[in-house]
C-alpha cells in the first residue's frame, strides 16, 4: 500500500516538474482581466535620417594584449592545474600498476577485457558478502537482543548414575522421610532401566516419555504402577507411613527382579 502511494506521488511529482519545465507555446493569461484598450492614435511614420557622424575605430595595443594573455591570473580555462591525488586515486593507480605487472604483455583490447573480468569478480564478491551478512544474525547490530543474564537459580543437575542409592535410602528411612525414600527408589529404578539399556536417561524427559520407551511390555505395566506411586507421593504430597512404604518398597524390589 505504501509502495503504491509512493509510486503515485512520484508520478504526480513528475507531472508537475514536466508542467514547469516545458515551455508553453500559449502566452500566459493575465491573472487580472486587462482594462479595455483605449482607441489607438494613428501613427505617422517619421522620416528616416542617416547618421553622418564619423566613427573612430579604437584598436587595442598588441603588446598589452600579449602581456594580458601571458598573465597566469587570466588563464581561467586553459590553466592546466594538477589535481591533488587522493588515497582512492592512489589505490587505483597502484591497482592498475599491479595489473600491468601481472599481465605485462597484454594489448589495449585485452586490458579492457581484464578490467571487466575484475569488475565482475568484484560484483560477485559483493553479492556473496551481502548474502552472508543477510544470513547471519544482524539483530545484534540493529535491534535489542535479550541479554544473557545470569539465571537467578542454581541448576542442581542430578545424575542418577552418581547417587549411592542404598546409603541415601537408609539415611532417608532413618530420618523417617518416607516421601524422599520413595523418590530415591523411583530414581534407582530409572537407573536400573538405563543400565539395562531399556531407556535413554535425560534430565528433560518426563516419566511418560520413559514409559513410552519401554514399549508394550510387562515391564511397562509394572513401571507404570511404580510411576503412579511416585507421582502421588512426590508431586501429590500424599502421606506415606512405614507400612505403606514397605508395600511400595516390595513393588520396587519386584520390578528390580523383573529387570534382572
Amino acid at each position: 500500500m505504501r509502495l503504491r502511494i509512493a509510486f503515485l506521488l512520484l508520478i504526480l511529482a513528475c507531472c508537475f516538474c514536466d508542467l514547469y519545465a516545458t515551455p508553453t507555446s500559449q502566452p500566459k493569461k493575465p491573472a487580472v482581466k486587462a482594462a479595455p484598450e483605449k482607441p489607438k492614435k494613428k501613427v505617422v511614420p517619421a522620416k528616416v535620417r542617416l547618421d553622418s557622424s564619423s566613427v573612430t575605430v579604437h584598436r587595442l595595443d598588441q603588446q598589452v594584449l600579449d602581456s594580458l594573455a601571458a598573465d597566469e591570473d587570466f588563464k581561467y580555462y586553459t590553466k592546466d592545474y594538477k589535481k591533488e591525488e587522493t588515497l582512492w586515486d592512489k589505490f587505483w593507480r597502484w591497482f592498475w600498476d599491479m595489473v600491468g605487472k601481472l599481465f605485462p604483455n597484454v594489448s589495449a583490447g585485452s586490458a579492457s577485457i581484464i578490467k571487466y573480468i575484475l569488475i565482475g569478480v568484484a560484483v560477485i564478491c559483493a553479492v556473496f558478502l551481502i548474502i552472508k551478512l543477510a544470513s547471519s544474525d544482524l539483530s545484534n547490530i540493529f535491534l535489542r537482543t535479550p541479554k544473557e543474564a545470569a539465571l537467578p537459580y542454581s541448576e542442581s543437575l542430578e545424575n542418577i548414575h552418581e547417587i549411592s542409592f542404598d546409603e541415601e535410602i537408609e539415611a532417608a528411612l532413618a530420618a523417617r522421610n518416607f516421601k524422599l525414600a520413595v523418590r530415591l527408589l523411583y530414581l534407582a529404578s530409572l537407573k536400573q532401566l538405563s543400565d539395562a539399556g531399556l531407556i535413554h536417561w535425560e534430565l528433560g524427559k518426563t516419566n511418560s516419555a520413559y514409559l513410552e520407551e519401554l514399549g508394550d511390555t510387562d515391564r511397562r505395566q509394572t513401571f507404570g504402577v511404580l510411576t503412579r506411586q511416585f507421582e502421588y507421593i512426590w508431586y501429590g504430597n500424599f502421606p506415606v507411613d512405614a507400612t505403606s512404604f514397605n508395600n511400595i518398597q516390595t513393588l520396587f524390589a519386584d520390578f528390580k527382579k523383573l529387570l534382572a
Binding site: P146, E148, A149, Y153, G204, K205, R228
Partner: protein, 325 residues
C-alpha cells in the same frame, strides 16, 4: 482417580462427570480436535479467556458455540467488523425522555460466555474496549462501574492467514487470553468422518441435540475446587525456570510475563482435574505451556525469517530444564 491405592482427598465425582459430559457433547458434533477441546475445557476450568486461531473452515466458531451451548449460561455473540465501535460492545448511555435521565444500555459483552468472532477484524480502538472487561471483569462508563456476572468467559476466534483488513491484536490484549488454541486441519480419517457426517445431514440435527450439561453455578464451584489443588513447590520453581528461560532466550525478543507463570499453574491444575488428579505433575505443565506461551512470546526477526515457531522455541526451552523429580 488414576490410582486406587491412594485415598481420595477431594471429591471429584461431579467435576469428572461434568467434564466427560462436555467432552461427549462436543464430540457428538465435532470430529477429532481432541487437544483443542481439552484445552478449551481446561481454559474454562482455569477461569481464563480463550483465543482460538485457525484457518477458515476448521470449526473454530462451531466448537466455541458448542462449548457455550453445553453450559447453561447467558451467551452472547459479537461479530467483530472494521466499523464496530466500543459502545457497540460495551454499551452506551441513552436519554430516557420519561425519566429525563441518561440510562446505560448494556452491550452484548454483558453475558457469561461471550463469543467474539473474528476478533482481529475490529480496529485497535474497539479491541482496547475489551482490556478492562477481560482483566478486571467490569465495565466503566460515564463514571459508573458495572461488574460482570460470574462466570465470565471470552472465547475469541481469529484467522491467521488473512492480513488485509485485519488489525493485529496488541500484546497487552493477547496477554489477557489464557490460551491461544491452534485448530489444525483434521487428519485423513477425521476428514472422511466429517464428510460422511455432513453427507448424512447429521451435523445440523446434532447441534440442536446438544443440551446444557453444566450450569453457571457448577462452573463456579468447579473453578473453586480446582484453585485448591496441590502444587509441589519444586513444580512452581519449574514453571518459574521456564518463564525465566523465555526471558533470556536468544531466540526470543519478548519473554513470558508473570501473568504467563500464573496462567501455566492455573491451567495445569485444570488439566490435572481433567485427568482425575487433585495435584499437578510436570507433564501437566509441559502440556499447557505452549498454549499459554505461544501468543505471549515474540520471536527475534532472524528466527521468524528462519521459520521457527514459538512452539518449537518453548519445546527447546523445556527440554533444557531438568524435570523435578
Amino acid at each position: 482417580m488414576e490410582n486406587e491405592n491412594f485415598e481420595q482427598r477431594t471429591d471429584m465425582t461431579r467435576l469428572s462427570q461434568a467434564i466427560e459430559q462436555i467432552k461427549a457433547a462436543i464430540h457428538h458434533v465435532v470430529v477429532g480436535q481432541h487437544d483443542t477441546i481439552e484445552l478449551l475445557i481446561a481454559g474454562i476450568l482455569a477461569d481464563g479467556h480463550l483465543l482460538i486461531e485457525g484457518v477458515p473452515g476448521v470449526a473454530k466458531t462451531l466448537t466455541a458455540k458448542l462449548i457455550a451451548q453445553s453450559i447453561d449460561a447467558k451467551f452472547s455473540r459479537i461479530q467483530f467488523t472494521p466499523d464496530l465501535m466500543p459502545s457497540d460492545v460495551l454499551g452506551t448511555s441513552i436519554f430516557n425522555p420519561k425519566t429525563i435521565e441518561f440510562e446505560f444500555k448494556r452491550g452484548p459483552i454483558f453475558g457469561n460466555i461471550i463469543l467474539i468472532d473474528e476478533i482481529n477484524r475490529a480496529p485497535a480502538k474497539t479491541q482496547s474496549a475489551l482490556f478492562e472487561v477481560m482483566e478486571e471483569r467490569q465495565v466503566t462508563a460515564d463514571g459508573q462501574t458495572y461488574k460482570m456476572e460470574e462466570p465470565f468467559i471470552v472465547i475469541a476466534t481469529q484467522n491467521p492467514v488473512e492480513h488485509e483488513g485485519t488489525y493485529r491484536l496488541p500484546e497487552a490484549q493477547l496477554d489477557r487470553f489464557l490460551f491461544k488454541v491452534e485448530v489444525k486441519y483434521p487428519s485423513f480419517e477425521d476428514e472422511i468422518a466429517i464428510i460422511t457426517q455432513q453427507h448424512q445431514h447429521k451435523t445440523a440435527e446434532q447441534i440442536t441435540e446438544i443440551h446444557a450439561v453444566l450450569s453457571a453455578d457448577d462452573i463456579i464451584a468447579a473453578r473453586k475446587q480446582v484453585r485448591e489443588f496441590y502444587v509441589e513447590p519444586k513444580l512452581i520453581e519449574f514453571v518459574a525456570k521456564i518463564i525465566h528461560e523465555t526471558r533470556n532466550s536468544k531466540s526470543l525478543f519478548l519473554g513470558g510475563s508473570p501473568r504467563a507463570s500464573l496462567a501455566i499453574i492455573n491451567s495445569a491444575k485444570a488439566l490435572a482435574a481433567m485427568k482425575g488428579r487433585d495435584f499437578v505433575t510436570p507433564e501437566d505443565i509441559i502440556w499447557v505451556a505452549p498454549a499459554v506461551l505461544r501468543h505471549r512470546i515474540m520471536l527475534t526477526p532472524d528466527k521468524e525469517m528462519e521459520g521457527v515457531t514459538p512452539d518449537e522455541v518453548v519445546a527447546q526451552i523445556i527440554q533444557k530444564i531438568e524435570i523435578p523429580r
